[in-house]
């Protein structure tokens, strides 16, 4: 049996649906091997993950709370990805957002209490947008490679955050971490742990969908992403759009940090670099940059997250096993995406005459 790969004439719609399903199945099998090696029953483990994520009200709440920043980070990097600008700096932009809101909460206490939260979230957007705008401007002006700058700036942001919560802004009585935000500026919860931030992110999904698919700007982003040279010939400014898109992208990642700290941690402290920014890349990629599909993907990854935390207790497995399984999900998916554009044709061995 020989085979070769041939390009399809059109993207296969069927494959766009089947590939995620098949690759999920393959990841489950691959993950199964890893689990067997660690002396765990794969089926029991998968059931445990599912129960850990959705088994009770509290668990569903945990999953939803995790989904919020994850979805926002996915939306954020998705905007940059549309331009083929590989923003892998959502993590740093998220952290800058937390720093922004914390600054308002700590030092802008002269503000009327009701204004603290909106101003704080705005500051999170500004800080995140600024952090995203820098690599955008560097790329636009001097063609500095964005994968390097956005990645490096993550560590700068994390470093600044550490300096702040360990020393400069440390609460007097704590070992680390800032003073808790004033209670009036917290984002309220309406169902157990689930807070109103979930509505902000869902509104954002709809707004972004409209911007990306219905507006002139969305059309321009699409043109640039698919053929920047042609876009330039049509009068679309590449430089300007890269900078704007990166400010928007960073701003949304910053807002994710602002919302999560106003609703969950209520301070700037250890654990601020939670990995949402990095996992957001997976969300954007798996959703094909579609905001609505991002919801499902973010929910799925959040569930995997909370579910694998439970593995420690129920299956006595290291929680890192969850991360192993996450990585295993992306691999078959990326490998499988070739079948959207290509097909395999099997041919019999050489025929002789």
């Amino acid at each position: 049996m020989r085979f070769r790969i041939e390009k399809r004439n059109e993207k296969s719609k069927k494959m766009q649906i089947l590939i995620p399903l098949y690759s999920l199945l393959i990841s489950a099998i691959l993950g199964g091997f890893v689990l067997i090696l660690s002396n765990a029953n794969p089926i029991d483990t998968y059931i445990a993950i599912f129960k850990g994520a959705f088994g009770s009200d509290t668990k569903i709440q945990y999953t939803l709370v995790k989904m919020i920043p994850l979805l926002m980070c996915g939306l954020a990097v998705g905007i940059a990805f549309r331009l083929r600008f590989w923003n892998i700096g959502a993590e740093g932009q998220y952290v800058m957002g937390v720093i922004g809101i914390t600054w308002v909460m700590q030092f802008w206490t002269w503000l009327p209490g009701v204004l603290l939260l909106p101003v704080g979230l705005l500051m999170a957007i500004i800080f995140g947008g600024f952090w995203g705008g820098i690599p955008g401007a560097l790329k636009a002006q001097w063609r500095v490679d964005e994968t390097l700058t956005t990645l490096m700036m993550n560590y700068i942001a994390i470093g600044i955050a550490e300096f702040l919560y360990i020393s400069a802004w440390k609460a007097p009585k704590n070992n680390m971490g800032t003073v808790t935000f004033p209670e009036i500026a917290w984002i309220d919860r309406f169902w157990g742990k689930v807070h109103y931030g979930i509505f902000i992110v869902l509104i954002l999904v709809v707004v972004l969908y409209y911007i990306l698919y219905k507006t002139r700007w969305g059309f321009e982003l699409n043109m640039i992403g698919k053929n920047s040279e042609a876009a330039r010939c049509q009068g679309v400014s590449i430089k300007r759009n890269i900078i704007i898109a990166m400010i928007v992208s960073g701003g949304i990642a910053g807002l994710a940090g602002g919302i999560d700290s106003a609703a969950v941690t209520h301070s700037l402290t250890k654990g601020v670099n939670s990995g949402y920014g990095f996992t957001g890349i997976i969300v954007a990629w798996m959703s094909g940059l579609n905001p609505f599909i991002s919801i499902i993907v973010a929910l799925f990854l959040a569930a995997l997250h909370t579910g694998s935390d439970a593995l420690q207790i129920t299956m006595r497995l290291p929680s890192a096993m969850g991360e192993v399984l996450q990585g295993l999900i992306l691999l078959p998916l990326l490998a499988g995406s070739i079948f959207i554009d290509h097909r395999i044709i099997f041919t019999r061995a050489k025929r002789d005459k």
């Binding site: 399809r8 219905k214 002139r216 059309f219 053929n227 010939c233 009068g235 400014s237």
Partner: protein, 508 residues
Amino acid sequence: MEKTLVVEMKNITKRFPGVLANENVNLQLHKGEVLALLGENGAGKSTLMNMLVGLYRPNEGEIYVKGKYVTITSPQDSMALGIGMIHQEFMLVGNLTVGENIILGLKDLPIVPDISEINKKIIELSEKYELQVDPTRLVETLTVGEQQRVEILKLLYRGADILILDEPTAVLTPKESKELNKILKKMLAEGKSAIFITHKMIEVLEFSETLMVLRKGKCVGIKPTATIKELSEIANLMVGRPVLFDLTKGPFKPGKVRVELKNVCVNSKTHSRKTLDDITFNIREGEIFGIAGVAGNGQQPLSEVITGLLKSNSGSILIDGVDYTNKTPLQIINSGVSHIPADRGRMGIVGDMNVGENLSMKKYRTIELSNHHMINKSKVREFASRLIEKFVIKTPNQFTSAKFLSGGNIQKTILAREINSCKGVLIAVYPSRGLDVGAIESVRENIIAQRDKGTAILLVSEELDELRTVCDTIAVMFEGRIMDIMDSKNASTEKIGLLMAGVERSSK
């Protein structure tokens, strides 16, 4: 005396999903002859050749090489049979030497090849076939014509005796084409054979012994070239209907000056010679201003400096008397300039977006297709179907990705968009390059119709016939300079040819 067959393709059929690319095609190539393969874009010429070099496999039919039945599944297989192909885009590495390029990819090479021994062999080969190339030079320092010789040497070095050349003269000057012809004749005398894919009918007469015409995947004619008396005979075979070579053009009535270039210079990033050197000319209403020249002598930078894609270092560009030097592309578009760019796929369309979206890429900003910042999709659909009908763009529907259209229909899409949004100035760069006869006809007609409506048009072309029939005024460019500007009535092919080669009027 019966000549020996070197390649025989019998009843070849190749199907792609939804398309019959080749149907029952029979091809015969004899030893020592050149077979010209003609046909419109999408007629199946490349598909047929790709089956011979192992990039595709036929669904039906048999291939015999030198009398033996063969199955070719890869370019390596075809190379082993002595078949080699020179593609339109050269496959050379610029920062390696000629010698290194020639041995690149050879399988039975020692870990440290003896490059001086190899160079010696290359020189022997090049002397034998009069393919003068210095094997120690870097490929990036070679002219296009020299690079083509390297490609030929590459095949000869590998022992190929059946050469397939895909539009080999598209990038050459008339002089270089003549040299290529001489080289080919020399190789044929040595018992090699060649298949020559081309659009240019005059060349068929010069180069080939036999010609074969494909239309819609089928062979519609095989004739000895010597029996052809009229060019229109071949053209009619290709298109399947009589082709008009005479264009109806209104009288030349130039109006006021629309575009004015004054001493425009652009410095080169890599060379000390300027990319554009002191360019001065005017284009008037109702005038087609042609730019002749061998590709790479500044024509494309000239179009880009006018459309704002390239910054000028000195001089000024006026549109309707207003200074537009170094303004943004958008400002220049808004001043009424439309642009048909040189490279359709890279600059003209967004292949992954659909035809309708591609058609609306100039007008989406205007009230015609959007209100404030929201694009009105139903207006876009209506607009697109109107243009598709008006410009006879052949596409399954407007939601088909533009990359699936044929070259001619991609060009029609660009033409439709640019002409529709044109407000008085049209910059057209190689608009008919690589198109088939039918599409060229429609491109030229559209451009002339614009001129008769009073548009000022800059037409860059390398086809002298096109320039002489379509243009009112012709300027010749060489090494970034304008050699001369003349009335197209006074422009003989010889005169333009000499100027294109850089021969000054005074030194003649």
